[in-house]
């Protein structure tokens, strides 16, 4: 379908029909002071050739740095076939199609995706995805408040070890809905919530959030936390890295009866790193809560001839029917990302995912042991379990060190003190399966040199003793 813009005559005719003199008059309720008269900083247009030249120049500025940063978005190998298939014309749309049932291929893919997510998380049902990890957690909190009919409070316990950006998203999305977010501090020794400090009489709680692994890469005591929450009438929301679930006990098996809602960021499963996304959020839950789950759900059925077919199901609480009373009004799914993810998981298989997860875990351990041999670098957590991230403390200003590493083509990690003031000069590091032994050695060598250089001038600056 060609795009045909309105002609001046079309515009005039429409304005005349509604009795308005000019298009500007349609905006006259916006105060003059808020209206931009002229866009001073928008340059003249460029030819396609000139644009290509500018883009190449900008792209090369990024270089090809060695990346040791994780912190919620991870660099993984994506087989070439994934995006080759995803971008075929038949799949290439960001949305669930209107007249969804006319696109059986897309619906079947979403159904397979749901099956994979339910299986990875150990839960009974999954939706067709949400916007991203942070919004999936905010939606899970809203869902838990709706679903927990025993709890009369809207009180949510949220560990500080949940991704800081997710916590900001929660404040933005649920902050004005009467929901009381209570942050739980972590134990400085373990980087986890101290399950032995759980109160016997916590009062009425709607839900407890458990990050898995947590922002520091640590594995919380999920069984104790889950059973404690259930014993006090609270639902359990697991916010997970789905790749980690290829190795770890799935949330459906936490404690006596498992988590109730599971959400998380789907990016590690076939989505390339990109600042600002698009990524996607995953969400699964126990069957009893399916009617409170936001978003689209694809079901499998049979047609009149008994042949299998797929359809959108459980739509009665969606926004096109319930309007303002829908389970959610910001629950768009990420069809294209999910398509890539489903193909990615299908290509790797359960065993492939497990091997990727294991390689990440082993690489990060190796990196941690290499880096902590450097003078002035120490591991923050001496014991306990972790997935594929670790925290180190530098005896040097972390921002200076990161800048020096970046100048040497290494992205050294994520500085934690911006979100955790108590973690001065601490760095969250990650080595996925993409990092070779040589990559890690290069990082260690460069960091050793930088730390050494920082020590030397400091020593020469010391006043000489007589």
């Amino acid at each position: 379908m060609p795009f045909v813009p309105h002609t001046d005559a079309d515009v005039r005719a429409m304005l005349d029909a509604i009795g308005v003199a000019s298009i500007d008059d349609l905006f006259d309720e916006i105060p003059e002071t808020l209206r931009i008269q002229q866009l001073d900083h928008v340059p003249e247009g460029l030819s396609e050739m000139d644009v290509a030249r500018v883009m190449h120049a900008r792209a090369s500025e990024d270089g090809q740095p060695l990346n040791f940063i994780g912190a919620g978005a991870y660099e993984h190998h994506i087989p070439a076939a994934v995006w080759e298939i995803t971008t075929r014309g038949e799949f290439y749309s960001a949305y669930t199609p209107y007249q969804a049932e006319a696109s059986q291929g897309t619906l079947q893919l979403l159904y397979e995706f749901q099956t994979m997510m339910a299986s990875l998380t150990g839960m009974e049902v999954a939706n067709a995805s949400l916007y991203d990890g942070g919004s999936s957690l905010a939606e899970s909190i809203l869902m838990a408040v709706r679903a927990n009919r025993k709890s009369k409070s809207k009180r949510i316990l949220l560990p500080r070890t949940v991704h800081p950006h997710y916590r900001q998203t929660i404040t933005a999305l649920v902050g004005n809905q009467g929901i009381q977010i209570e942050e739980l501090d972590y134990d400085a020794e373990t980087g986890c919530f101290d399950a032995t400090s759980l109160p016997d009489e916590p009062g009425d709680i709607a839900a407890l959030v458990i990050p898995y692994p947590n922002f520091f890469g640590r594995i919380e005591d999920v069984n104790t936390l889950t059973d404690w929450a259930h014993a006090h009438g609270a639902l359990v929301i697991g916010v997970v890295n789905p790749l980690a679930l290829a190795l770890l006990v799935p949330p459906g098996e936490w404690g006596e009866t498992g988590a109730d809602i599971v959400c998380g960021e789907g990016q590690p499963l076939g989505i390339p790193l990109s600042s600002g996304g698009p990524y996607y959020g995953l969400m699964t839950c126990k069957q009893v809560f399916v009617r409170q789950m936001p978003g689209r759900i694809v079901g499998r059925t049979v047609d009149l001839d008994g042949k299998p077919g797929y359809s959108l199901t459980l739509q009665a609480r969606e926004q096109h029917i319930r309007r303002s009373k829908a389970t959610s009004n910001i629950c768009t799914n990420q069809g294209l990302m999910v398509t890539a993810s489903t193909i990615h998981m299908a290509l790797l298989g359960a065993e492939g995912l497990r091997r990727v997860a294991l390689a990440c875990h082993q690489n990060t351990r190796k990196l941690l042991s290499m880096l902590t041999q450097i003078e002035g670098v120490e591991a923050v957590y001496a014991s306990g379990n972790a997935f594929h991230e670790a925290v180190i403390r530098l005896q040097a200003p972390v921002d200076d060190v990161l800048r020096a590493l970046a100048a040497d083509n290494v992205i050294g990690g994520y500085s934690l003190q911006q979100h955790y003031p108590e973690m001065e000069n601490c760095l969250l590091i990650c080595a996925t399966e993409m990092r070779s032994e040589a990559d890690m050695q290069a990082y260690a060598d460069k960091l050793a040199r930088i730390m050494e250089m920082r020590r030397t001038p400091a020593q020469t600056a010391q006043p000489k003793t007589a």
């Binding site: 009919r149 025993k150 009617r291 009665a316 609480r317 029917i321 319930r322 009373k325």
Partner: protein
């Protein structure tokens, strides 16, 4: 023409009330179940919950839509009909009998005066057509 028993009181939002002393039993009208179509899920308040007249207190979900049930009267929920939770189709089959939803201990019986008679409600139900 839907069935509208004379012995019940009705709300404009299509709930019925059957009063026995200071307790009232509540359900949705035959007309309401007919408009909704086959019910597939029902969410009731819990025993002990307080409900307020004209406020939503339950949800009836059909394949077409999930609709709120507005309590026609205020009070404390003293019983709920577990049978319809397990088999929502009972509400379609017998909306005034086995398809009742919950009963409350009335906190303000004067609210009953504001409800509609069968005659008045039949006018409301007809407007929908």
């Amino acid at each position: 023409m839907s069935n509208i028993p004379d012995n019940l009181k009705y709300s404009k939002s299509h709930e019925w009330v059957s009063v026995d002393g200071d307790t009232a039993k509540i359900g949705i009208s035959d007309h309401a179940q007919d408009l909704l179509g086959d019910l597939v899920f029902i969410e009731l308040p819990e025993v002990g919950d307080g409900v307020t007249a004209a406020q939503e207190c339950a949800v009836v979900e059909s394949v077409k839509a999930a609709s709120d049930v507005y309590s026609p009267v205020s009070g404390e929920v003293v019983a709920i009909n577990e049978a319809v939770v397990d088999s929502p189709e009972i509400v379609n089959q017998d909306p005034y009998g086995n398809g009742w939803l919950y009963s409350v201990k009335l906190s303000d019986s004067s609210e009953l005066d504001a409800l509609l008679s069968a005659d008045d409600y039949s006018g409301v139900a007809n407007e929908d057509h």
